[in-house]
Amino acid sequence: MSAEMPEQNPITAPEPTAETAAYWDAADEGRLVLKRCLGTGKAFHPPRTISPFTGRDDTDWIEAEGTGEIYALSVSKRQGAVHCIAYIALTEGPIFLSALTRCDLSAAKIGQRVHVVFEPCANGRRVPMFTTVATD
């Protein structure tokens, strides 16, 4: 099968809120951060002030490793460009909706290791996506 590379243009720009500004500021610096529930110790995603597990606001930001494996994926055409949406099971636990980038989609498989890379979107802010880890 011939290589099939995704194209990431244009990416819909996120619209941060006071609750999420720290996440997107970190992404602009090339860092992936997650929220953690202090009541349960579990990292979660998407980030919010109130824990999805306890309903309390005792949550803090943690640095994520930016690694994980593909949980599910689907390749399609998006505005004429090859696109691959994917759920990534992060090393910290939560499954993260994202997209694959900078890798050959014809070889991308569920269970494959991936790491985060940051792609610029329409307004110049950077969005975390994932690329496959070479295993040769």
């Binding site: 990416i11 819909t12 720009a13 996120p14 619209e15 941060p16 809120t17 999420t20 997107w24 529930c37 579990k42 990292a43 979660f44 995603h45 998407p46 980030p47 919010r48 824990s51 999805p52 597990f53 949980y71 599910a72 994926l73 689907s74 390749v75 399609s76 998006r78 696109h83 949406i85 994917a86 759920y87 992060l90 636990g93 939560p94 499954i95 993260f96 909706l97 994202s98 997209a99 569920i110 269970g111 979107c121 969005v127 996506m129």
Partner: protein, 392 residues
Amino acid sequence: MKNKAFIVGAYEHPTRDAIDIPLAQLHAEVAAGALADAGLSLADVDGYFCDGDVAGWDAPGCGPFSMVEYLGLNLRHLDTTESWGSAYINHVAHAVQAIEAGKCRVALITQAGRPRAERKSPAQMHSEQTQSAYEAQFELPYGPVVTNMYGMVAARHMHEHGTTPEQLAWIKVAASHHAQYNPNAVLPKVVTVEDVLTSPIVATPLHRLDCCVISDGGGALVVVHPDVARDLDRPKITPIGAGFTVKHLNGGYFDILASGGVKSGAAAFAQAGVTPQDIQYASIYDSFTITVLVQLENLGFCAPGQGGRFVAEGNLIAGVGRLPVNTDGGGLCSNHPGNRGGMTKLIEAVRQLRGEAHPAVQVPDCHLALAHGTGGQLGSRHGSATLVLERV
């Protein structure tokens, strides 16, 4: 729940392309059809049930005011519970509760939509409908649309259970076998597994023929108090079990193959006091082939992971297989009005229980049926409603 209320009226609009029929008029036409079927009129209706997207004001939950005015209803009860395509299955359960509580005696449920006439793509609708949600900034940059979100569910099922594209294709083949007898079906032609597999990929691993049709139209039901049913010359069809839940992503800790059907199905069967093996006919929401396969597993018609084997070789075809499913041709071949499949699922279940399905697909002596739907995204968040119906 049994014998607390009866479905006495059902009507599916014959149109699939409502370019000349405004939305409010579509609702009124299906209302008239279902009431005529019941032998009742608009003047008898004292409870109205509709989704939050009904014709009227854009303000969520307020659209029904103008719809109620258009219909000329004089109400004691209004229920606008929204759970997208599963809403109407939920509405039947709510209508039974309202009738039992004395809030109304004649409940009218309408559904209509015209995505073809409005020329809105599912992708455009998904983006418009979700952009104000808290999670939108963490999802929309990655291009989620209906097709690739369902594609991920199919990909995961294939990975975990070895399900094949051929097995998924059998679900479309079964729908097409049923649709050939439905003169209103969008796709009345019988297709083969090979036809499905050679149709273009829309989002891996799903092909174009793994998808449902996009159609305009709608349908309506009339649910009444036992005293009202007694005076009408209609078959007695009563809801005997109902379940509902919302499946969501739980902070990122979820199983994409466990839909809300796990909970809503178990609740409905428990209340009905029957098991999946007792069901003679099932209407299963079929936005995509994978939707049917996952729901059949989640409802307990087969073991988890066995859905591929269960649906293959015509097992869902009336007169051929063990479980006839969507004998009107379903959303896959007949109708998916307004991108919401719950109403047509209920209507075909009523036809089967009345013995009014097409003779070629009628289940002999059908007295126990199920209607089930997930409204929203199977691969993320959705409302899931299950209803068990009995002819008494």
